[in-house]
């Protein structure tokens, strides 16, 4: 059975969320949203059945919060959000992320992105931040970001129970070592190669001994993904479901 790029990413994210009690997903993040729904499905299938609290920003039904937008940030500060997703127009080898803009002189950058959203807070506080950026090119994976929206972990004495566990892209999964402040290539997605990752990454990284292919979902998981999960995620991301899971749209 053929597995799409999106399905592999969703499955990988769900594996990274195993054992989480509470997961939040930002706006415009259908793949992390679907991954979190698959993780919730797995948790519900455990014996005894386990709850996974999920909040997808912008969704009414997939939302465990009742106190407005501020509640996500307060819950993160309380230690009640186990995992969150952040991306960036630029990501560098020390896991600094830039959601503001590139080139030129701030604020008159040559390219402007939306802005930092909640990154400059959640990156410090959520223990399992998954950096997720589909585009894996040298314009995204840069030696040094032009603007630090949120800094990668560093020994600066700042209160930081959280931080990135790694970076997932269209090509591979890197873990992040907070002590060494470096990414380490763990798995390369089927159909891609180490050389391709190296050619498209602008920062230096370590390579895990025996780095393997990213595991793909089995037939049973694919059926869940293409059925109930696709229908659920459609409430928050109708366009995504039309494109990726047309049968469920």
């Amino acid at each position: 059975m053929s597995v799409s790029r999106q399905e592999l990413l969703i499955f990988t994210i769900a594996r990274l969320l195993k054992d989480c009690r509470s997961v939040a997903v930002g706006a415009s993040s259908p793949i992390p949203g679907a991954g979190a729904l698959l993780a919730r499905h797995w948790a519900a299938g455990e014996t005894p059945s386990r709850r996974l609290f999920l909040t997808i920003l912008g969704s009414s039904r997939l939302n465990s919060m009742t106190s407005g937008g501020v509640e996500l940030f307060d819950m993160a500060a309380q230690g009640r959000i186990d995992a969150f997703f952040l991306g960036g127009g630029q990501i560098d080898g020390e896991a600094n992320i830039n959601l503001v803009g590139a080139g030129g002189a701030y604020p008159q950058t040559a390219v402007r992105w939306p802005g930092s959203f909640g990154s400059a807070y959640l990156y410090y506080l959520v223990p399992r931040v998954i950096l997720f950026r589909e585009e894996h090119t040298r314009r995204v994976m840069v030696p040094k970001v032009d603007f630090i929206s949120a800094p990668g972990p560093r020994a600066d004495g700042v209160y930081r129970p959280g931080g990135p566990i790694g970076l997932l892209t269209n090509l591979c999964w890197f873990s992040f070592d907070k002590q060494r402040r470096r990414f380490r290539l763990e798995t390369v997605h089927p159909g891609h190669s180490l050389e391709e990752v190296q050619d498209n990454t602008g920062f230096a990284f370590d390579i895990a001994p025996g780095a393997v292919a990213t595991p793909a979902p089995d037939a049973e998981t694919l059926a869940v993904l293409r059925g109930p999960i696709a229908r659920l995620i459609g409430e928050a991301y109708p366009r995504f479901v039309q494109q990726v899971f047309p049968d469920a749209a």
Binding site: G68, G69, S116, F147
Partner: protein, 278 residues
Amino acid sequence: MSHDWLLGSADELAQRVPDGAKIAVPHDSLGAALETTRALIRRGARDLHLVCVPMSGLQADLLIGAGCVGTLETSAISFGEHGTPYRFHDALRRGAIRLLDATCPAIHAALEAGHKNIPFVPLRGLLGSDLVVHRPDWKAIDNPFAADDPILLLPAIRPDFAVFHAPYADRDGNVFIGRRRDLATMAQASTRGALISVERVRDDVDLLASEETAAGTLPAIYVEHAAIAQRGAWPCGLWDEYPIDEPHFRRYGELARTADGFARYLEEFVQVRRQAAE
């Protein structure tokens, strides 16, 4: 029925906002008052300080493109799946607005300080972000209660008005906001209160009479004025009432790409007062 708090139209709401006012607005999907926004453009508002709680999209792009905004305080300007904020980008390039880039919880926390009327609030995170470099109004201190614990202080935000759209007001001017508690914080932090457009006024309802409705209600004491604007969030959606008008966002994206196209958009959809429902 006549009420002192109820004005005749969104245009009358907009007339209460003087040039130079600081107004707090919610994200497009959380009750943005787009008809009041069009009315602000019609009245030629200038030099507004727009506080986006905690971000904005079409509402900010319209006000910026129409030259109404002097200062933009926000965590992001984004249309999500629905396009690109060309007018925001253009204004930045031209240096036409002062930008106060923030992060979502900083805006929430500063508003909560405003709502308590205390001068500042400490917030975790942020230290080491370039946001702090460009915000001289934010100051790092050492936690006075513990050793080796730097933390950032943010000055309170006290807008003049909170401006948003909600499903309905009751006969006493209490406004139903559901679980959107940020709208209450915005209204309470504002020195003057909230200017709220509503789909309807329900004379048959007293929102404070039962726990079920009172829990989702902004009490009238925080409501400076309200006005009926049917489909007043359009083309944005309003919670359970109506969805976002996607074709209109696409049309906006086609036109707002250029200054000329944006001017045509204003002529067609803003300057002429029209019923959004048509």
